[in-house]
Symmetry: C2
Subunit: 186 residues, 2 copies
């Protein structure tokens, strides 16, 4: 468990890049943001950007993952298993995230963003399932995590499509019994 801590310069630079990207995202669309824009805002060299990220899409993935994870961690990680409250908190976190995205313009990249959200959800669901299952087969856990991630994300899309009228808690409430009932089979 010797977790070799990473160089402070690396952390600092990545933070500068991430923050600058988020800052710029608030001002213009993703397709209009160049690497030069980001590095200028972050006051780092353009070559340094490529030292940390494949390209601007790689940055998009990692930045979104982080924002989403921060949302989630702050919300529901007091729960260590998939309770009713956990489902509700996760759903709230996603809808909050969706709302924050809708103010910024990411037209044409909704599918990328959606994929990232689902991937993060899958990771989290898998962790929680693995924590509470008694030596269940790994592949089965993973597939369950996939289904949950798609399902919950789909619910958030539907919530958005319906005009975000209900508060997320009430919107998700009707399906909680179903989601919870199957858990003991895992």
């Amino acid at each position: 468990m010797t977790e070799a801590k990473t160089d402070p310069r690396v952390l600092r630079t990545r933070r500068l890049i991430m923050d600058s990207f988020i800052e710029l995202s608030a001002k213009k669309e993703f397709k209009d943001i160049t690497v030069k824009d980001i590095t200028t805002e972050a006051m780092i060299n353009r070559a340094t950007f490529y030292y940390h990220f494949e390209d601007i899409y790689d940055l998009l993935e990692k930045a979104l993952s982080e924002v989403l994870l921060v949302n989630l961690n702050g919300e529901f990680f007091p729960y260590d298993n998939l309770s009713e409250e956990a489902f509700v908190s996760i759903f709230i976190a996603i809808t909050n995230f969706q709302k924050s995205l809708s103010t910024r313009c990411h037209r044409g990249y909704e599918d990328t963003i959606a994929r990232i959200i689902r991937e993060q959800l899958e990771i989290i669901f898998y962790k929680m399932l693995a924590a509470q299952s008694e030596g269940e087969e790994d592949e089965a856990l993973k597939l369950n995590a996939v289904i949950l991630s798609w399902g919950i994300y789909g619910a958030s899309v539907e919530w958005k499509r319906k005009g975000m009228k209900l508060v997320p808690e009430d919107f998700i409430k009707p399906v909680l019994p179903y989601l919870l009932s199957g858990l003991d089979t895992i």
Copy 2:
């Protein structure tokens, strides 16, 4: 006039150190601030501190100089010569600076701070005198700058000693005729 611009990392690091020092100064006295405190707050390595500054006193000098210069530049640099408004603006800048210092605790270092202020004033007065004098002897200009810097600084000390009751503009007004009258002899 090839002004080789300095490495962005240097600027960034110096800014981090300066800001951390000013931040810490608001929380505790100068004598209780260690280099480790500063570098921890700035999230840089302690050795890096010594790459930029002799020691913590060197940092004190440079930080104060900068704060004072920012005060002055913002105030009076529309004036390019020593007019009545210039004197008033400079005096206001110094008293503002003194007020901001009195909230923080720098007991035992007043004389150091005073020296730094006078040195900065001397530089500025010399620049302005040189700009408006017609090929006057250099040593004479320098000595005039010295006298002005000590004089104006002394006035600010007196203003403080008198309880800061008058607004700086009114406090300095009585001596403006004298200060201005001699200028054409230079």
